[in-house]
C-alpha cells in the first residue's frame, strides 16, 4: 500500500529547532504602557485600537491570576521577563520567494508551503509577532473571501472588523484575554460573504522562534449568512529552557445558517504556557464546531465555547488532550444556550501519561425561559500509568422544562494485561500503548478531516515512544 503521507507533519522533533533572531522591532522585556505605545506605533494602529489596548492593559493589571480555581503553576509566569513584541517588519509577503531565507527555511522544514499547494485554500504563517506570509488562492479571493492578518483587517475592513472585534470575547473576560487585547499582534481576520462555501480549508500556522517570548495572536472570523468555512491552525515552538507564553484570543461569528469549523492541532514544546480564549457565536440555524487537539505545552488552559444565540443554532466541541509527563492539559468546553431549540455537543477525550495531568472543565448553561434545548456531554479519560492524573469539573445549569442534558463520563486505564496481550502479538510496549491510545480516541478522530486524523495518530505514536522507558 502507498504509505500515507500526512500533509500536516508537524511532529515534535521536527518543530524543535530555532534560527538566530533577526528582529528589527523589539519591544524589549516587560510590560508597561510604553510597551503598548511601542506596539501601536510600529503597527500604525488607528487611535481607537491604541485606546482599546491601553484600556485592556489596565484591565489586565487589575485582574488577579485565576489561581483560586486554576493551577498554581500559573505563578511561574513572570510577566516582567517576557518579550511582548518581536518582528522583522509588519507587512506579510504575498509571494513565498519574498519571505526572508531563515523564516522560509523554518516553514519549509515544517512543510507549510507543500501543504498549501496540496490542499489549502489559503495560508498565513506567523513567525513570532507578525505574519511573514499570507496568501489566498485567487479563486477563493474572487468569491469575496477576505483572509488577511488582524492588523490589515482592522485597517482595511473596519466596517466589518470593528463591529465584531472584542464582542464575542470582551477584554475583561479573563486576565489572559485582557493581556491579549493589550498586546495582540498577528492572527487572522477572515470574512466569508453570504452563501459562499469555501471548499478547502484556510490555514494559519503559528510559530514561536524566540526565547522568553509571548505570542499574542488575535483571530476574528465572520461567516456571513449561509456561508461555510473550515479553518485550521497549527502551532509549534522550539524547546527552550525558559517559559514561553502563548495567549491567543479567537472570536468566531456564524451568522444565520452559516457553518464554521475551527480546527486546532497544537504541538507546543514543554516550556510553553498556552492560555487561550476561544469562543464563537452561532445565530439562527448556524453551526460553530471546534475541533481541538492539545498535545504538548507545559500548561494549557483552553475552553472553547459556543454561544447559541439564534433558534436551532448548534454548538460542538470535539477535543483531545494528551498530557505527557510533567504536562497539564486543563481543557474543556463552554456551551451557552441563549435561544430555543439549540443543541450542543461536547466530546472530550484526555490521555494522561506518566505524571501528566488532564483536567476537564465543562460549562453548560440552559436558562429557564428556553424550550427544547439539548446538550450531550461525553468526557472520557484514559490513564496510562498509576502516577497519571485526571480530574473532571462539570458545571451544568439546566432549568426550565423541555430541555435535556446528557452527561457521561468515564475513566479507564490501559491495563498491564492489555499491553501484554498486544506485546504477545509482536508489538513493542510503545507500539502497544499508542495503539491503545489511538483506539481510545478513534471514534472521535474519525470525525476529523483526514489530514488531521493521520497527523494526530502520528503525534500520539511519537508521544508514546517518548514515554516508554
Amino acid at each position: 500500500m502507498v504509505k500515507e503521507v500526512s500533509p500536516l507533519e508537524i511532529e515534535r522533533n521536527v518543530g524543535n529547532f530555532a534560527y538566530p533572531e533577526t528582529h528589527t522591532h523589539d519591544a524589549g522585556v516587560g510590560l508597561t504602557e510604553k510597551t503598548i505605545h511601542y506596539i501601536s506605533d510600529i503597527k500604525e494602529d488607528p487611535d481607537w485600537v491604541r485606546q482599546f489596548r491601553l484600556n485592556a492593559y489596565k484591565t489586565f493589571m487589575s485582574k488577579p491570576m485565576p489561581t483560586h480555581w486554576a493551577s498554581k503553576d500559573l505563578e511561574a509566569i513572570v510577566f516582567d521577563n517576557i518579550r511582548y513584541y518581536l518582528s522583522a517588519g509588519t507587512q506579510p509577503k504575498r509571494n513565498w520567494e519574498d519571505v526572508p531565507d531563515d523564516v522560509k527555511r523554518t516553514f519549509e522544514r515544517l512543510g507549510i508551503p507543500e501543504q498549501e499547494r496540496k490542499f489549502l485554500a489559503g495560508v498565513e504563517a506567523q513567525f513570532d509577532s507578525e505574519a511573514v506570509y499570507s496568501n489566498i488562492k485567487k479563486a477563493v479571493g474572487e468569491q469575496g473571501v477576505i483572509f488577511v492578518g488582524s492588523a490589515e483587517g482592522l485597517k482595511n475592513h473596519p466596517e466589518i472588523f470593528r463591529k465584531w472585534f472584542g464582542k464575542v470575547i470582551p477584554t475583561g473576560d479573563n486576565k489572559f484575554s485582557a493581556l491579549n487585547s493589550a498586546v495582540f499582534s498577528g492572527g487572522s481576520f477572515i470574512y466569508v460573504p453570504p452563501g459562499v462555501k469555501v471548499k478547502h480549508p484556510l490555514q494559519a500556522y503559528f510559530r514561536i522562534n524566540a526565547e522568553n517570548f509571548g505570542q499574542f495572536e488575535r483571530t476574528l472570523i465572520i461567516c456571513d449568512e449561509g456561508s461555510e468555512l473550515t479553518y485550521m491552525e497549527g502551532c509549534t515552538a522550539p524547546k527552550f529552557n525558559t517559559a514561553t507564553l502563548h495567549s491567543a484570543v479567537v472570536e468566531l461569528v456564524a451568522l444565520k445558517g452559516a457553518k464554521l469549523q475551527y480546527i486546532t492541532v497544537q504541538n507546543w514544546s514543554a516550556n510553553v504556557f498556552n492560555l487561550v480564549t476561544k469562543r464563537g457565536i452561532a445565530y439562527e440555524d448556524a453551526e460553530v464546531k471546534w475541533i481541538d487537539c492539545n498535545i504538548g505545552s507545559r500548561l494549557t488552559m483552553k475552553y472553547p465555547g459556543v454561544i447559541m444565540k439564534g433558534r436551532r443554532a448548534r454548538g460542538e466541541v470535539l477535543s483531545i488532550a494528551l498530557a505527557g509527563d510533567g504536562q497539564h492539559q486543563d481543557t474543556g468546553a463552554k456551551m451557552v444556550h441563549a435561544a430555543d431549540e439549540t443543541t450542543s455537543n461536547i466530546i472530550s477525550k484526555s490521555i494522561s501519561i506518566g505524571k501528566g495531568r488532564a483536567t476537564y472543565r465543562g460549562l453548560v448553561h440552559i436558562p429557564k425561559h428556553l424550550k427544547n434545548c439539548k446538550n450531550n456531554t461525553e468526557c472520557d479519560a484514559l490513564l496510562i500509568n498509576s502516577t497519571s492524573r485526571t480530574d473532571t469539573y462539570p458545571a451544568i445549569t439546566v432549568r426550565g422544562t423541555g430541555n435535556s442534558v446528557q452527561h457521561e463520563a468515564s475513566v479507564s486505564q490501559v491495563s498491564a494485561e492489555q499491553i501484554f496481550y498486544m506485546q504477545q502479538r509482536g508489538l513493542t510496549e510503545a507500539q502497544a500503548m499508542s495503539l491503545s491510545v489511538n483506539g481510545f480516541v478513534n471514534d472521535l478522530v474519525r470525525q476529523f478531516p483526514m489530514e488531521y486524523s493521520v497527523e494526530l495518530k502520528r503525534l500520539i505514536e511519537l508521544e508514546m515512544e517518548g514515554s516508554v522507558g
Partner: protein, 258 residues
C-alpha cells in the same frame, strides 16, 4: 534443534513456586497436549513461555530452535515465532481486528518495509474463510463485546495470520459449544504442518477428539508426571487425575501454595 524445549523450569509468583522443575520438548511439526487438573500450573506455563512480567523464572531454560528466549521481552519472543492463544484474551477498545492484526504483521517486517494492503487483506480474508468467519468481523474492536466462542476464534485467526513457529493454545476449548469447538479445531488442524509446533493446554479430553495430538503430557503440581501417546488422554478421561495427584503428594509433599 527444531523444537521448543523446556528444561527443569521453575517459576514463582509472589514467592510461591508454581512450576517446579518442568521439562518438556515440542518438536516442530508435532502437536503436544498438556492435560491436568485446575491449579496444576498449566496456564502459568503458557504465560511464562510468552514472557508475562508477573512471573519469576528461578531456574531452568526455555530454548526455541536452540535459542534461549527467557531473557527476551514478550514482543521479541513473539516476533521470533512464539504465539500464545490466550485463555482470556484482552479487549482493545476502538482498535479493529483488521488494524490490530495489520500492526502485528507489520511488526514482523524488516525495518523500512511497508505491508502491502492488498496482500494483507487477501490473506486475512483467506484465513477468515477457513475459520468460517464473517468479513464484517474484522471491523469490530478486538474482543470487545465478543462471546466466548468469538474470542477463541479470534485467537485462532491471529494464529493463522501470524504464522508462528510454535503456538501455545491455552484452554482454547473452554467456553465453546460443540459447533464452535469443531470450527476452532478445524482451524487448528488446517494449520497443522511441518513448520508449526503446537502445545495444546486443556482441561478436558473433549478437544482431543477433534485435534489428535502426537503426544499427551500429564501435568500435576507444576511438573510433568507422565507422557504418552494420544491414548493417554482417553485413559485420563476415564480415570481422572486423582491417582496422579496422590502419587505426587507422596513424592513431593504439599505444594507451598496449597
Amino acid at each position: 534443534m527444531n523444537q521448543l524445549s523446556i528444561t527443569n523450569l521453575r517459576v514463582s509468583i509472589a514467592d510461591q513456586e508454581i512450576i517446579r522443575g518442568l521439562s518438556l520438548a515440542v518438536p516442530k511439526g508435532e502437536i503436544h497436549a498438556i492435560m491436568g487438573p485446575n491449579g496444576s500450573g498449566k496456564s502459568t506455563l503458557a504465560k511464562v513461555l510468552a514472557g508475562h512480567p508477573d512471573y519469576k523464572v528461578t531456574a531452568g531454560e526455555v530454548l526455541m530452535d536452540g535459542e534461549d528466549i527467557l531473557a527476551l521481552a514478550p514482543d521479541e519472543r513473539a516476533r521470533k515465532g512464539l504465539f500464545l492463544a490466550f485463555q482470556y484474551p484482552s479487549e482493545i477498545p476502538g482498535v479493529t481486528i483488521a488494524n490490530f492484526l495489520r500492526a502485528a504483521v507489520q511488526a514482523r517486517l524488516p525495518e523500512g518495509e511497508e505491508l502491502e494492503a492488498t496482500d494483507y487483506y487477501a490473506k486475512l480474508y483467506e484465513k477468515m474463510d477457513l475459520l468460517e468467519m464473517d468479513r464484517s468481523f474484522t471491523s469490530r474492536s478486538v474482543n470487545e463485546g465478543f462471546s466466548g466462542g468469538e474470542k477463541k476464534r479470534n485467537e485462532i485467526l491471529q494464529l493463522a495470520m501470524l504464522e508462528p513457529k510454535y503456538a501455545v493454545l491455552d484452554e482454547t476449548d473452554s467456553g465453546l459449544d460443540i459447533d464452535a469447538l469443531k470450527v476452532v479445531a478445524n482451524g487448528v488442524n488446517s494449520l497443522r504442518g511441518p513448520n508449526l509446533g503446537i502445545l495444546l493446554i486443556t482441561h478436558y479430553q473433549r478437544l482431543l477428539d477433534y485435534i489428535i495430538p502426537d503426544r499427551v503430557h500429564v501435568m500435576i503440581q507444576g511438573r510433568i508426571v507422565r507422557s504418552g501417546g494420544k491414548e493417554l488422554a482417553l485413559e485420563l478421561e476415564e480415570k481422572g487425575y486423582e491417582g496422579y495427584e496422590a502419587a505426587v503428594k507422596d513424592e513431593v509433599g504439599e505444594p507451598a501454595m496449597a
